[in-house]
């Protein structure tokens, strides 16, 4: 028997129940975002009035946001690795860095949305505006939840209530954060690059 098998939780399936439940949740989130992306694509190019995607989407700006979110995923796995090896000093630094990069992404989204509204694109303007804001807004709401979750963990780490024994909590937070990242990878391609 390997060390890994020896360390497996004593559940009927040999996996941590919290982690299994969270993967099931992520599976349901796949269906949620799948439906939103489907709706965006089905209505793509069917707006009868502008502004149209090519009029207002700012690729350089969104590329920087994408880079920011990808780096936040790196910070997250570094935080998990630090917590697992009991290095709480770096665990706290990486957790806060992840939350900070998430906040920067949200700031970018606020700037983008504000710019679009000033250019005449709102939820009610056309099909593009409706599907774009619902899709990216739902993703932004998920990022917001993730930032709050990360800051909560960071505060618990500052209080000394987070350590290697709670590594699974950090890992589950990481699963959520990486899922938010992979959803953005798809949105960036489907919405911004494929116009």
């Amino acid at each position: 028997m390997t060390h890994a098998a020896a360390a497996a939780p004593h559940t009927s399936m040999g996996v941590d129940s919290r982690k299994m439940a969270f993967w099931a949740f992520i599976g349901s989130e796949c269906l949620l975002f799948g439906s939103l992306i489907s709706t965006y694509l089905v209505y793509k190019g069917r707006s009868v009035v502008g502004p149209y995607p090519h009029d207002i989407l700012n690729i350089p700006f969104t590329s920087i946001s994408t880079f920011d979110l990808l780096m936040s995923s790196l910070m997250m796995v570094l935080a998990l690795a630090a917590v697992q090896r009991g290095d709480m000093k770096w665990g706290k630094i990486w957790l806060f860095s992840t939350a900070l990069l998430g906040t920067v992404f949200l700031g970018g989204q606020v700037i983008e949305f504000t710019d679009f509204v000033h250019k005449g694109l709102t939820l009610q303007t056309n099909l593009f505006g409706c599907t774009f804001f619902v899709l990216t807004g739902t993703h932004g709401a998920h990022v917001t939840v993730g930032v709050v979750w990360l800051l909560t963990l960071w505060v618990r780490a500052l209080q000394g209530k987070l350590g290697p024994a709670n590594a699974m909590t950090v890992e589950i937070t990481g699963l959520y954060w990486h899922f938010v990242d992979v959803v953005w990878i798809v949105i960036f391609t489907v919405v911004y690059l494929i116009q």
């Binding site: 060390h3 890994a4 996996v15 982690k19 439906s35 793509k44 190019g45 790196l74």
Partner: protein, 123 residues
């Protein structure tokens, strides 16, 4: 029930580093950094392809492949699906496949036809 060969159980303590993975099956920091570098390079390629007119005839398939590779890298290494229990792969993969099937079915239903140059039928 023991974990499948080469795959760790869903939880457990961290044990000493061996090769490219730690004993609980998670990649090392070095692997995380290499994956991050690959993700940045792929993103630069995506944006580069978008701006190069020569790629426009094959823009959609190229972008979809690059995006799929980035997606897989994050899921396999950052979310640890490559080393974790296959139960998690099923819980994530089954709804993902269902979502993709529904997406493709809706595109065929509403757009009539799909081409490699994108949803050209959308107008």
């Amino acid at each position: 029930m023991s974990a499948p060969p080469g795959r760790a159980g869903g939880g457990g303590a961290t044990l000493p580093t061996t090769g490219g993975t730690r004993e609980h099956g998670h990649p090392t920091v070095g692997v995380y950094l290499r994956v991050a570098a690959a993700l940045v390079i792929l993103t630069v390629l995506e944006v580069g392809v978008f701006y190069v007119p020569a790629f426009h005839p094959v823009l959609v398939p190229v972008l979809l492949v690059l995006s799929a590779v980035k997606f897989a890298l994050v899921v396999m290494f950052y979310m640890h699906l490559s080393a974790d229990s296959r139960v998690f792969s099923f819980l994530f993969g089954a709804p993902l496949v269902l979502a993709v099937v529904v997406l493709v079915a809706l595109l065929f239903l509403f757009l009539g036809a799909l081409t490699l140059r994108g949803a050209a039928g959308a107008g």
